[in-house]
């Protein structure tokens, strides 16, 4: 980034494959950026969690301690700790620097699909196929969760947390938003099993992807449908979706080896980025830059905009 700040440019999409990292940890179940987008986490099916610098392609640390494949991970706001959940039904809190397990939260009856820190990394929220979301307190030594959100009728596939809300998508076809401040639960019926949900960056909308190969943009407050995005293929797998760094585009994995970009407002397909022959299992979008990470098979790809130069960036 240059200084002074250039005039607002049009949204550029990451379509230049910058790096391909072979993670060497089996299938990469999920890839996640850290809070500032400088590092990423990959969750491997060989029970390890790895921390990378995706732009340079360097492996920083390997976290091992899970008893089964790792399905999701998240970093805390201060980059001091990580949390991860996996097929061993455990949620693990890691110390980033030492690579040690700080705590292991057990209690889920099934594998843990998704984990999230809250804003201050005092609570870990984990969604599991046992249809519960459990809120684990990182501050106390209590072994049981602070609260169990068991409203879902089926497995919880996705959990996202804002400062006062918990957004959860479940296989029972509902998106539930727990508003802690209002003390209310909003349940939106989508119909098809939900694979991924996320807030828009401005916190006004929720993006919901479901197994009917459709992404829906819902108004957070009313539940009204603001947009629908189709064209990709998502019928059987739990695939990720997200919004671009400035909420201009909707991004989703697809089972046909592409990543689809739609214009958020118009809903037209902007780009179908061919990643590879397999299924794009997971993706993560950089919080501030047009940079995309995709996971396919045992490797991850880092994508940047066309004009990106390797040495010019912050990486």
């Amino acid at each position: 980034m240059s200084f002074p700040e250039p005039k607002p440019r049009g949204p550029v999409l990451p379509q230049k494959r910058l790096k391909t990292l072979d993670c060497g940890q089996g299938a990469v179940r999920a890839v996640r950026f850290n809070v500032d987008g400088n590092y990423c986490l990959t969750c491997g099916s060989d029970k390890t969690l790895k921390l990378w610098n995706p732009l340079r392609g360097t492996l920083l640390r390997t976290y091992s301690g899970h008893g089964y494949e790792v399905l999701d991970a998240a970093g805390s706001f201060d980059n001091s700790s990580l949390c991860s959940g996996g097929g061993d039904k455990a949620v693990v809190l890691w110390d980033v620097a030492s690579g040690q397990v700080v705590r292991k939260f057990r209690g889920h009856a099934g594998k843990v699909n998704t984990v999230q820190f809250n804003e201050e990394a005092t609570v870990i929220l984990s969604g599991s196929i046992d249809s519960t979301i459990r809120c684990w307190d990182c501050r106390s030594r209590r072994p049981d969760p602070v609260q169990k959100l068991d409203e879902a009728k089926d497995g919880v596939s996705s959990v996202k947390v804002s400062d006062h809300e918990v957004l959860a998508g479940s296989v029972d076809g509902r998106v539930r938003r727990y508003d802690l401040r209002m003390g209310q639960l909003f349940s939106d019926y989508v119909g098809s099993p939900i694979t991924c949900t996320c807030f828009s960056r401005d916190g006004q909308c929720t993006l919901v992807s479901s197994l009917d190969s459709t992404l829906r943009l819902l108004d957070k407050d009313t539940g009204e449908l603001l947009g629908e995005y189709t064209g990709h293929k998502n019928q059987e797998y739990k695939l990720d979706c997200c919004l671009s760094e400035r909420d201009t585009h909707v991004v989703s994995c697809s089972e046909d080896g592409k990543v689809f970009f739609w214009d958020l407002v118009e809903g037209v397909l902007a780009l179908a980025l061919q990643v590879g022959p397999g299924v794009v299992q997971s993706l993560a979008y950089h919080p501030t830059e047009p940079c995309l990470l995709t996971a396919m098979g045992g490797s991850i790809h880092c994508w940047q905009e066309e004009a990106y130069e390797t040495e010019g960036g912050t990486g």
């Binding site: 296989v171 003390g183 209310q184 639960l185 119909g191 603001l226 629908e228 407002v265």
Partner: protein, 927 residues
């Protein structure tokens, strides 16, 4: 120190004695501990401290008379020869050395005598003399003494006199003009008597006007401020008695400048105070506090500023009528009130209570019953649980009381719950103390029966034993008889006897233990005179009685220890007996309507449910969010009690007859899925009926019937659930006439239907998984199989990443498949891992495998149907668009043109907020 330079040493001032420098290699000596430190005198004897400092006597050798042997009489020595030598013995000859030392009673060192001692000592003496003069029958009589005594004037006086000094004059050079007469400095206090008025001073004041030039005056005799150290033995600030104050009571009261009335005791005891003033002789405060006086705070009555009020007091709250400006009568009234109520001193910071205390009621002590003996008999304490209540009863009976009514039980034998019962309290729910309370109703009844039986038996036995013992009552004390019978009943109640084998209280005495066991065995058999049989016949009556008692105690003890087992159980979280179960108060209502709403893309009110949800307090804290429900202890969704074991609980079927159309359709769905789709029904696609019938659902059902045919063709959705619905819809259309027939008859599906559904699903679970395996291969795009497609490709490919060599997938394949099937039942699969090199190799064998499984006609059929639908869907795609546009126009009032043109603009420069804002006003666009 040694390292210091010599010049720097000069500057230092050293105190004390320095330690001796340590020698080479010498360790620093440890200081002698306190207990070892001793004081010895010159002769090396231990010195005893008798007085405060060094006064007192050390009486000889360890307080003996000077020698180890004590006082020994000296042998007689004739003094005939040296009589002349003997001088007269003075007191010093009988004194110890210590007495002659500095602090002794006869110090040898030169000490200034009283005559030359400092003046202050004189002053005290003088004061005493003056006091004596004042108190003497003739005041001022000691003046005579003053004239006579100065025979022993000090040297200083004599010297001064010789230098021309006269008494009354100051010392110093003569001054020309006498300095102006000043009031004595307040700092300089004049002690002692006031000078007699008149005299030279007055005349001098008059002479002030004319001054002679050549006349000089001696300086005024002013007592200088002396900073003498305190050297007397009086208390601090003791200044001796002022005779005038002490005798005539001129002062000594607190002077209240403002009110003008003296406060406190002097007023209350006014008459005494008056008398005090008149009285002559010593009755002053300096000599202690009289019996009639209340105050003792100013023994040394001096006038200080603290005696005066320096501020206006504002201690009296209430109306402003206080202080010295208060009306007179108010004051006096208050005063009188005060006086009336309380005579005595009021402490600082306290005020008299405005309300008088109600007098304490004193109850007389209870009257003792006539036959009361003040000796307590300690009864063995047995917790009154249901198990050993028999024993309790027995014990109380053995004490001579027969208790049948629990209401008349002595209070010591009641536990809390029983007391509560007697008091009419409702028993606390959920905190049952006995295991018995967790038994099912049937078991309880059985227990009751058993209990009744044993009770009956016991009663019979008691009667029998009573009858039997009536004859032998001459030989046995009656209490024993009763006791025996009751023990018997107690133990035959079946509590203690059963497990007596490993409890041996009399193990030390095998004979006794044998007897005890026999006793227990007899007891178990229900023999009435078990004790009599097992007791040793050779024993005396007293021994027998004792042993009987012991056995009974032992049996009891065993029973109670046995009952501690019950404490190991915890309470179940949910009552098994109750037919109620807690379910969320608000249920997410009908999915059917929602599905149609989703299909019509009418998201919003129709698809949204809002519930009251209570986050945990700690969670709120962690999220830095105020608790939205600070008063409630509830967590999660509010819950209500419902009937347990009711299918309707979980299906949320309507309690009232609902709209027939929706019901029929839902039933259709179930029926349709029941027989020919033997899958485990996941909860989200069991059609739930809505609880309330409102206009929305009516509207929806109407809309659904209208949209039905179009929807069937145009829906782009390929999800399995959607397919179900579609099927049901199409089914409905086809069987419209059938429905109309069944509609009227059925308001609620029969239970058999549900049974059929659920039973079949569980039975056919295993076969269905096989079906799915077959399915999944057939067509990847097959929408129906999407959810249940086993991830065959998923796991085998995990391995190839590490070893890319071609592998035989068949054996591992089967294992993994079963693994997955038992592990995952619902939800989207994890994506497979495609490794470019492993992929091709994997696919070929898979296809082969699945061809074998392909003979499942059911799934094929289903599959075909879906394919057809897909074709239709493609065909009618533009139709669907049309329809969508129609609905769009009807739903949104916004003009489509403007928004279209807007959205066609480049959105690059817009902020996300702006984008979203615009988005919200935009009607839906369909592709």
């Amino acid at each position: 120190m040694a390292a210091r330079d010599s010049d720097s040493e000069e500057d230092l001032v050293s105190y004390g004695t320095g330690l001796e420098p340590l020698e080479e290699g010498e360790r620093p000596k440890k200081p002698t501990p306190l207990q070892d430190q001793t004081v010895r005198d010159e002769k090396g004897r231990y010195k005893r401290f008798h007085g405060a400092f060094s006064g007192g006597f050390s009486a000889g050798y360890f307080n003996t008379v000077g020698s180890k042997e004590g006082w020994t009489p000296s042998s007689f020595v004739s003094s005939r020869q040296n009589r002349a030598d003997k001088s007269v013995l003075g007191p010093e000859d009988f004194m110890d050395e210590e007495d002659l030392s500095e602090f002794g009673i006869a110090p040898k060192a030169i000490v200034t005598t009283d005559d030359f001692a400092s003046k202050t000592k004189d002053r005290i003496r003088e004061k005493a003399r003056q006091l004596a003069a004042a108190t003497a029958p003739i005041p001022g009589a000691t003046l005579l003494d003053d004239f006579i005594t100065p025979a022993t004037l000090s040297v200083g006086f004599e010297l001064l006199r010789k230098m021309g000094w006269k008494e009354g004059q100051g010392i110093g050079p003569r001054v020309k003009r006498r300095p102006r007469q000043q009031k004595p400095d307040p700092g300089v206090k004049i002690y002692g008597c006031a000078l007699p008025p008149g005299g030279s001073e007055g005349s001098e004041d008059e002479d002030d006007d004319y001054l002679l030039e050549n006349v000089t005056f001696a300086p005024k005799d002013v007592m200088p401020v002396d900073f003498t150290p305190k050297d007397n033995v009086h208390g601090l600030a003791y200044k001796g008695l002022d005779p005038q104050q002490a005798l005539f009571g001129a002062s000594g009261e607190h002077l209240n400048l403002f009110s003008g009335r003296p406060e406190g005791a002097s007023n209350l005891l006014g008459d005494i105070g008056v008398n005090k003033g008149r009285k002559l002789g010593i009755s002053g405060q300096a000599f202690g506090v009289g019996a009639l006086e209340e105050e003792d705070d100013d023994i040394y009555a001096t006038e200080t500023l603290s005696k005066y009020d320096t501020i206006l007091k504002d201690e009296e709250p209430g109306d402003g009528l206080y202080g010295w400006t208060a009306p007179k009568q108010y004051q006096s009234q208050k005063e009188s009130e005060k006086d009336l109520r309380y005579i005595g001193k009021i402490l600082d910071g306290f005020s008299l209570a405005s309300k008088s205390l109600s007098s304490k009621k004193i109850y007389p002590p209870p009257e003792l019953p006539r036959d009361y003996r003040p000796v307590h008999y300690f009864r063995p304490v047995v917790a009154a649980t249901s198990e050993n209540s028999h024993l309790l009863q027995v014990l109380s009976e053995s004490a001579g009381k027969s208790i049948h009514d629990p209401g008349t039980q002595s209070r010591h034998q009641l536990n809390a719950s029983k007391r509560g019962e007697l008091l009419g309290e409702t028993p606390i729910q959920g905190s049952a103390t006995s295991v018995l309370e967790f038994l099912s109703q049937k078991d309880k009844e059985r227990f009751k029966e058993m209990k009744q039986a044993t009770d009956l038996k016991a009663a019979q036995l008691r009667a029998l034993s009573l009858a039997q013992n009536a004859a032998s009552s001459r030989t046995q004390p009656p209490s024993q008889v009763v006791g025996h019978g009751s023990w018997h009943t107690a133990l035959s109640g079946g509590t203690a006897t059963t497990k007596a084998s490993n409890f041996k209280p009399f193990a030390k005495d095998p004979e006794k233990q044998k007897r005890y066991e026999k006793f227990l065995a007899n007891m178990k058999r229900g023999q009435k005179d078990a004790l009599e049989h097992c007791l040793d016949p050779s024993m005396t009556e007293w021994e027998r009685g004792r042993e009987r008692e012991e056995f009974a105690r032992a049996a009891l003890l065993y029973a109670s220890s046995h009952s501690t087992l019950s404490s190991r159980f915890t309470h179940a979280k949910e009552d098994d007996d109750s037919d109620q179960v807690e379910v969320p108060r608000d249920q997410e209502n009908d999915v059917n309507d929602k599905q149609s709403a989703v299909k019509m893309k009418m998201f919003g009110k129709l698809t949204r449910d809002t519930f009251e949800w209570h986050p945990d307090k700690l969670l709120c804290k962690r999220f830095n969010v105020p608790d939205p429900y600070p008063d409630s202890t509830l967590v999660g969704l509010p819950r209500v009690k419902r009937d347990k074991y009711s299918v309707f609980n979980f299906l949320t079927l309507p309690e009232t007859a609902s709209l027939p159309t929706t019901q029929a359709s839902s039933e259709k769905v179930l029926q349709h899925r029941g027989p020919d789709k033997p899958r485990k029904p996941s909860r989200w696609d069991t059609s739930k009926q809505e609880k309330k019938e409102d206009s929305i659902s009516e509207f929806l059902s109407l809309a659904r019937s209208k949209v039905g045919p179009l929807e069937q063709e145009s829906s782009p959705l390929v999800n399995k659930e959607e397919v179900h619905v579609k099927e049901s819809l199409s089914n409905k259309l086809v069987n419209k006439d059938v429905d109309s027939q069944t509609e009227a008859g059925e308001s609620r599906p029969s239970m058999d239907l549900f049974k059929a559904i659920f039973a079949s699903s569980s039975e056919e679970k295993s076969s269905s998984s096989e079906d799915e395996q077959g399915d999944s291969e057939d067509d990847q795009e097959g929408p129906g199989e999407a959810d249940f497609k086993s991830s065959q490709e998923e796991l085998p490919s995990v391995a190839p990443t590490s070893e890319p060599a071609p592998q035989e997938p068949a054996p591992s394949f089967v294992i993994q498949k079963t693994q997955i099937d038992e592990r995952e039942e619902f939800g989207p699969r994890l994506p497979p891992v495609f490794c470019p090199n492993a992929r091709q190799k994997l696919e070929a064998p898979q296809k082969e495998k699945h061809k074998k499984n392909k003979e499942k006609h059911k799934t094929k059929k289903e599959h075909r149907r879906k394919k057809e639908k897909k074709k239709k869907h493609r065909k009618h795609k533009h139709k669907g668009k049309q329809k969508n546009k129609k609905s769009e126009k009807s739903s949104s009032s916004e003009s489509a043109d403007s928004s279209d043109s807007q959205s066609e603009e480049d959105t690059a420069d817009m902020s996300p907020q702006e984008l979203l804002r615009r988005l919200k006003h935009l009607p839906l666009r369909r592709q």
